[in-house]
Symmetry: C3
Amino acid sequence: MFEQMITNVRNNVPLVHAITNYVTVNDCANIILASGGSPIMADDINEVRDIAAISSALVLNMGTLNERTIASMLAAGTTANQCGIPVVLDPVGAGASAFRNKTVLQLLKEVRFSVIKGNISEIKFLAAGEGRTSGVDACEADKVTEVNLGSVADFAKSFSKKTGSVIAITGAIDLVADHEHVYAIRNGHPMMSKITGTGCMLSMVTGSYIGANPGDILRAAAAAVCGMGLCGELAHKRLCELQGGTGMYRMLLIDEMSKLNEKILEEGANYECIER
Amino acid sequence: MFEQMITNVRNNVPLVHAITNYVTVNDCANIILASGGSPIMADDINEVRDIAAISSALVLNMGTLNERTIASMLAAGTTANQCGIPVVLDPVGAGASAFRNKTVLQLLKEVRFSVIKGNISEIKFLAAGEGRTSGVDACEADKVTEVNLGSVADFAKSFSKKTGSVIAITGAIDLVADHEHVYAIRNGHPMMSKITGTGCMLSMVTGSYIGANPGDILRAAAAAVCGMGLCGELAHKRLCELQGGTGMYRMLLIDEMSKLNEKILEEGANYECIER
Amino acid sequence: MFEQMITNVRNNVPLVHAITNYVTVNDCANIILASGGSPIMADDINEVRDIAAISSALVLNMGTLNERTIASMLAAGTTANQCGIPVVLDPVGAGASAFRNKTVLQLLKEVRFSVIKGNISEIKFLAAGEGRTSGVDACEADKVTEVNLGSVADFAKSFSKKTGSVIAITGAIDLVADHEHVYAIRNGHPMMSKITGTGCMLSMVTGSYIGANPGDILRAAAAAVCGMGLCGELAHKRLCELQGGTGMYRMLLIDEMSKLNEKILEEGANYECIER
């Protein structure tokens, strides 16, 4: 079902405007290209409105948040809203500092997001205005498992209803939900957490996919999550053959995204639509 | 003819000062090293004059332009001019926003450039003060082809005469021109546009080459363009053997630059001097 | 003797807070992960105190110094001191500009460092408040050799006594000293200087190691230097097999760090404790 999404990305080459952190920005630009989009990473307040207005999607990533780019995020986000351009929020480290918490709540108030993507700790913080995070990883106690899957799915639907955004919660099992439907996705590999930027890269791929499929944000986001996870699996398989480490894994992950096509996605996607 | 250029780079190890964007800065530093130079990426207004003054070449790249680094670019550029140090301009995305357009025209007014390198849309914007760009790629309508090669060559010579700069226009066919001579270069590979930063990296290699060959800017710039394109071809050949994707291609491109020598360049360079 | 250090890193997963340059920050985050730690690269003045306070170690790297992050470095450094969290200083390019020189002397005055790591030119500048550096590489005249090893070791002990910091001087031979003991380490490979960021990465690995071994800073820092050098050797061996260049070398270096374990370190570590 997700295959058409990828075809649309490859055919439309969506221009993805990202305001993001300086740690993983190169991988972000390269994975946008690999996914079939075209990246533009402008972040100065003097031009972000111009750039957002000509883009197919906007991605706001809070990784290395600073005062200069917060103003740019707000300006680009409101412009995108005015122009009807879909916006992705990646609330990296929400909960980790007062500054980060205040900023993410301001972004939620002033910008309407098509997709909010984070780990369970980050999303719980957004929903509750409170939470516990350490660094940028999810807390052990919060993790999505087969046992709590149903209750987390209900939480995701409820938060989607509140925000009007598609909610993507990443973890060993990924959930992608709107106010009615929830996809549980079982693609991915634990090694994805051994390199920096897999979460950031997923938000970029989500930008590509919703930029090329603006009429079906839920399924476009789910396809992006499926696709990224599948690339993580395929990269790990290749890594074992090549006996590489984490440096090589990062390279292979982008390799697999650049090779991903309808057929590979159809064969490898592992998801279900949870009915409740 | 370009072989001596590369020997001079390897022997002189030019210190290349780059003020550049945060997307591709790591690849830029690594390709300066791979080309035989030594990179220094200082960009604070409080030290760029000191650093420019001790460098062999300065490269100004407008990728992720912001107010803080514009002031640094102007300060470093004027210092380099005073010290007789060659300066490269890479006007990334010129035409894409009013802020970018205003900045590039100010740079052109206040700094003398030894080389201006961009795609045809960017260079046309600089020449005309107008133009159409989308993202950072050249418009389809503007692209250099065998059909319009002659007229673009004339344009390049004319813009070189106006600015006093060597003009490098990149595309499927690359042109490198001063006010009298034009080299048409047919090295390169389409896959170079599937990763971010090949344009940025070329401006850095150009910095290395003109830093080590300040007496022959035209041929040094042409050698850099040839060398970079050739590395793109060789990297693609190796990529096919290894069945890799775009992640691997980025790595192999830097690999090939680090292996480039007189003999490889002599055998692989594909250029002609256009007489008109 | 260093093997226990690595076990403690793998078991404790220290959170390493780094305020660093934008050139090598991705490699820095990835090598922290590869070494067994967890990176967090927050650098805004509004949150660095919060982040430093929850970290296991703080690393301050002066690569692309700017006014915004200097304030953040001072705030994070003093917070870490108050919380008893070990701090690493990497004074990249000390001596290269008046701005850089003033800043590093201010950092030394206001923050107590557990480890100061630099090349001999940088460390000499810190010790003397004067020196000659060109770019970010050590001057030929200053390099540590078998001939001057003893006198450099005495200098390192004396500077350690003055500062209360463990001093790590990197070069063909590395020295790691406190006021009483000096380790001379003969791991490493010349190719490490052909890519950007090996020095930065070492300061990050040092952060991981002292974060997980706060009771034995000297030996933790020496283990980090040994481990990084050994990874440089192993990566070069693999590079020869794969016939790669500098792009591949950078990847393999991180690969080897992710594979490093007690056994590999025990077999490959090449150090002596100099008695004087």
